[in-house]
């Protein structure tokens, strides 16, 4: 009998440890002889460094060394590597680990102090004298490409990183035959990751032992290993990177940071382990964020609201350097045309440098921006033609009979974007029912009589998940009968241990508790890719499934020989292989493992290798496309501009759910991140490039008191692209959220004629629009 775990709400195996204070995050670790580092960071957005005097800092008791760019020496004097090279990058600007002679954003690392304690290291920072020559800073993306704009880098003639474009279908024909052409322009602003654990690194260098080891709060330890080894020009085999417990990632921890190089070098020079833990102010200034993206779009449609084409231009703020290449502008374009069958699209992106912290993906990467743009155009069509927004969507969805549906867009890596499965209109029906959409007008009218303004907004999305190429798993039965399971995939709270244990337990025939899970340590598994883009379930799911099945087959084959039974008559349950109908005939998996690896001079059974083990890199043969429809119901106070989210409903399809409880948590958490984008989170720089929001009094994150209850319902349309039928679920909550909230606010304020062209929709901005509407109404 097979014990089923897949599809069950199995409580997480990670939790008892984390609930009792026994997690192991980077700052929880300590090592013999460990020193502590603190970084001096640029106080100006753009300046030449005339000189740096570290002598007073170096003299402070307890300080071991102070390093600047020059102190790292010739061997370590080069810029950071580009991890995502692309032909469209015209100016490939990456930073020096410590600034050389120019700083290009506030927060850029300039020097590092290594001391007996963090407190002493911070004391010493105040004693470093940097002589800056201030240069003009560019901050506003709307003017950054104009002639005479300040330049983000002194040695360039333009702030253009590069241009890219997504174009397919006959766009001219679409606009020529359209009954209507409508346009809209809007700014999208997304903040940072604000994982509750900041970044942090411990490095230890042991040239005669196990080489350079790094414990870092990161999503992609293998990417860091490769990047660091490449930068150092040393073999990957001599660099070990471990991501221990990580307190949230959300994108910005998926990259490779200057601190990972500098702390490694500090450990090397000091011949002692060195720890650096980012403080929250540094997180605001130095951890990559997403920020501004401006869209100007035109939509061509028929009288019935059928969309024929979409064209326009995006201006994308990139910050001062491009550590992620053009990953974000690319993932902003690829979701076009969203959940809809739009035959022609031509949208270009201008990627611009500014003197602000470099830009990185944040939960959903560019997908929330691309989907927001499409959904805004649906709203634009709906408003201008006076057709209900649900109806406009129905008339445009990609239908199930069109699957697999090739949009015309190209995914990063060059593959065609193909929607593999799903029923978008059925999802809409589900969410309309869940949200009592049909009776909303009654609720709205009743509230209006009380002087309250309610609004409702819909948003639909698709999400390309599970990007390749693989995320492998090894499953090995050890002599105790426990099952070691190893993978490269790092977890930042997604419950990988539980998910993988469920898959292996069910398919091997052991209890989930008997699985010894290890991940995200490059010394324990040869290679991995990273926890980004909702890709782990759709890659490590199939690989753990495949590896477990292979181990099972091997165990059954050996057991059949030993028990003198046919494999077909055998079953494995709770780690014991039994002959059906002869319960006394049995052997445990642990005993089989010992048979395969006997003591010296004994024989490994013929036809077997010595390990009851299998490794698989099976994944998804393409990107499984998850989908969802959301409905937000809000109340707006036109007097104060306060927006309160009253209800939020989600219908989501991420294919087969391995653990619905974990999926639910991902969706709800993702929605709240999206509500934060829509209403609260704003990283503000002044016109000199000084960050103005560097604490949680100034930068607002969503709080429990502001969040509604979120109702979630699921469809499970199996993806044909992998063995489990799964699609990613990590970002599907975030991607559609801002568009639903913004549409709901507009709906609430219809009588003021409010059209929102910016988010986060804060009270000041909204009261400005309301006042404008009031004045126009009075005129």
């Amino acid at each position: 009998m097979v014990v089923r775990y897949l599809g069950a709400e199995v409580q997480r195996m990670e939790d008892p440890r984390l609930l009792t204070g026994h997690g192991r995050y980077v700052d929880d670790m300590t090592m013999d002889g460990m020193l502590h580092a603190a970084f001096l960071r640029a106080s100006q957005a753009h300046a030449k460094i005339r000189s740096i005097d570290t002598s007073r800092a170096a003299d402070l008791p307890g300080v071991h060394r102070v390093f600047t760019h020059a102190d790292l020496g010739e061997k370590y004097s080069h810029r950071m590597n580009q991890l995502y090279p692309a032909p469209v990058i015209e100016q490939n600007k990456t930073q020096y680990p410590l600034a050389k002679d120019e700083v290009c954003y506030v927060g850029e690392a300039v020097a590092v102090v290594v001391a007996d304690s963090r407190a002493i290291a911070e004391d010493a920072l105040a004693l470093i004298d940097v002589d800056y020559e201030t240069l003009p800073a560019v901050v506003n993306i709307m003017t950054a490409l104009e002639d005479g704009a300040p330049l983000a880098h002194a040695d360039t003639t333009s702030n253009l990183v590069g241009k890219m474009r997504s174009a397919f279908g006959d766009i001219d024909d679409a606009f020529a035959k359209a009954d209507h052409v409508f346009s809209a322009g809007f700014m999208q602003h997304r903040g940072g990751c604000h994982s509750m654990e900041t970044r942090g690194v411990i490095a230890r260098d042991d040239p005669w032992g196990d080489g350079l080891s790094l414990w870092t709060s990161a999503q992609s330890p293998y990417l860091i290993r490769r990047a660091l080894a490449t930068w150092l020009d040393e073999p990957e085999e001599r660099v070990r990177v471990v991501a221990p417990d990580v307190g949230g990632g959300f994108g910005p921890k998926a990259g490779f940071y200057p601190e990972e190089i500098v702390i490694s070098l500090a450990a090397r020079f000091m011949k002692r382990p060195v720890k650096w833990i980012e403080d929250r102010r540094e997180h605001f200034m130095s951890t990559t964020t997403q920020r501004d993206q401006h869209w100007d779009l035109e939509v061509a449609c028929t009288n019935e609201g059928k969309i024929l084409g979409l064209r326009g231009t995006i201006t994308h703020e990139n910050g001062a350097y491009i550590p992620y290449g053009i990953l974000l502008p690319n993932s902003s374009l690829t979701p076009l045309p969203g959940a809809y069958s739009i035959p022609a699209i031509d949208v270009g992106v201008n990627i611009v440098f500014t003197n602000t912290v470099p830009n990185s993906p944040v939960r959903g990467a560019g997908r929330p921006c691309g989907i927001y743009a499409v959904e805004r155009m649906i709203q634009t069509v709906s408003r201008n033609l006076g057709i209900d927004p649900a109806t406009v969507r129905r008339r445009n969805y990609v239908r199930p009979d069109q699957m697999p549906y090739e949009t015309g867009a190209t995914l990063r890596g060059g593959a065609k974007c193909i929607y593999d499965s799903g029923d978008y209109e059925a999802l809409l029906d589900k969410v309309l029912e869940l949200s009592d959409y049909s009776s909303f007008k009654d609720r709205q009218a009743a509230a209006r009589k009380e002087g309250r303004f309610l609004g409702i907004g819909i948003s639909s999305c698709i999400e390309d998940t599970g990007m390749g190429p693989y995320e492998g798993t090894t499953v090995r039965v050890e002599s105790s009968g426990k099952v070691a399971v190893r993978t490269g995939a790092a977890s930042q709270g997604q419950g990988h241990h539980t998910m993988i244990a469920m898959i292996v337990a069910e398919n091997l025939g052991v209890a989930p508790e008997d699985i010894l899970f290890e991940s995200a340590d490059t010394s324990k598994f040869p290679h991995g890719v990273g926890t980004i883009g909702s890709r782990v379930a759709a890659n490590v799911g199939p690989s753990s499934f495949d590896a477990a099945k292979k181990v099972r087959e091997k165990a059954l084959k050996l057991a059949a020989e030993i028990l003198e039974a046919s494999e077909a008559d055998l079953d494995i349950e709770d780690g014991v292989v039994r002959v059906n109908g002869a319960p006394d005939l049995s052997i445990t998996l642990g005993e089989l493992a010992i048979k395969l690896s006997p003591a010296s001079a004994l024989r490994v059974p013929a036809g077997f290798d010595p390990l009851l083990e299998a490794t698989s890199y099976d994944g998804s043969s393409g990107s499984p496309i998850a989908c969802g429809s959301n409905v937000a119901e809000v109340e707006v106070d036109p007097g104060t501009g306060e927006v309160r989210v009253l209800r939020y409903s989600v219908a989501h399809d991420c294919g087969v759910m391995i653990n619905p409880m974990i999926v639910h948590g991902q969706i709800v958490g993702g929605v709240v991140h999206g509500i934060g984008n829509a209403l609260f989170e704003r990283m503000i720089y002044d016109d000199q490039g000084q960050p103005l929001t560097t604490n949680y009094g100034e930068y607002l994150l969503p709080l429990a008191s502001e969040m509604p209850r979120i109702d979630v319902t699921h469809m499970e349309t199996p993806s044909p692209l992998n063995s489990l039928g799964v699609k990613g679920a990590g970002e599907g909550g975030t991607i559609p959220a801002a568009a639903a909230i913004v549409a709901a606010i507009e709906n609430a304020l219809e009588e003021y004629g409010v059209e929102i062209d910016y988010y986060p929709v804060d009270p000041q901005y909204l009261t400005g629009l309301i006042d404008k509407g009031t004045v126009q109404a009075a005129e």
Partner: protein
């Protein structure tokens, strides 16, 4: 030379005597002085609540309190919530059951804040729970599992 003071305090029922720098926060002292790393430092400016511990039973942000201020007081951290035999606190059980945690970083502060809250408000409404944790930021869960866990734990604790 760093200015230090000798302090004595009880943490999770155990007495400690230590010499601490006057500028050391209670949170840093618990983590790095006593090795109780369950208490997490999230923002170090008193907003995120990850570092919340109980001092004489009251929820306190250990990043805003100095270690020397804890002299003579009794501190409970997340490590002190479960029974000595390992039986989880009803809040810990409920967080586990309701998926009230993902990355686990805010969890210790959520648990200690809610433990103090439920003692004073044994039968709270959902709105009251949401207000009670409005000083604790969670970036992963969207709070829903946490709220459900707190309401469920309240029921369990009333039954006991």
């Amino acid at each position: 030379m760093a200015d230090t003071r000798d302090i004595e305090l009880k943490v999770n029922g155990e007495s400690h005597a230590a010499s601490v720098e006057t500028r050391t926060s209670l949170g840093d002292f618990l983590r790095h002085g006593l090795g109780l790393t369950g208490t997490h430092m999230g923002c170090e400016h008193g907003v995120c609540g990850a570092c919340t511990v109980m001092v004489d039973g009251e929820a306190v942000r250990s990043c805003l309190m100095l270690a020397v201020q804890a002299n003579g007081h009794e501190v409970t951290t997340v490590e002190g919530l479960a029974d000595d035999d390992g039986t989880l606190h009803p809040l810990q059980e409920a967080f586990w059951k309701h998926h009230g945690l993902q990355c686990g970083f805010c969890t210790p502060g959520m648990l200690t804040s809610l433990a103090a809250f439920l003692r004073d408000n044994p039968d709270p409404s959902e709105r009251e729970v949401r207000e009670a944790i409005s000083g604790n930021i969670c970036r992963c869960t969207g709070y829903q599992g946490i709220v459900d866990a707190a309401l469920d734990a309240a029921k369990t604790m009333q039954g006991n």
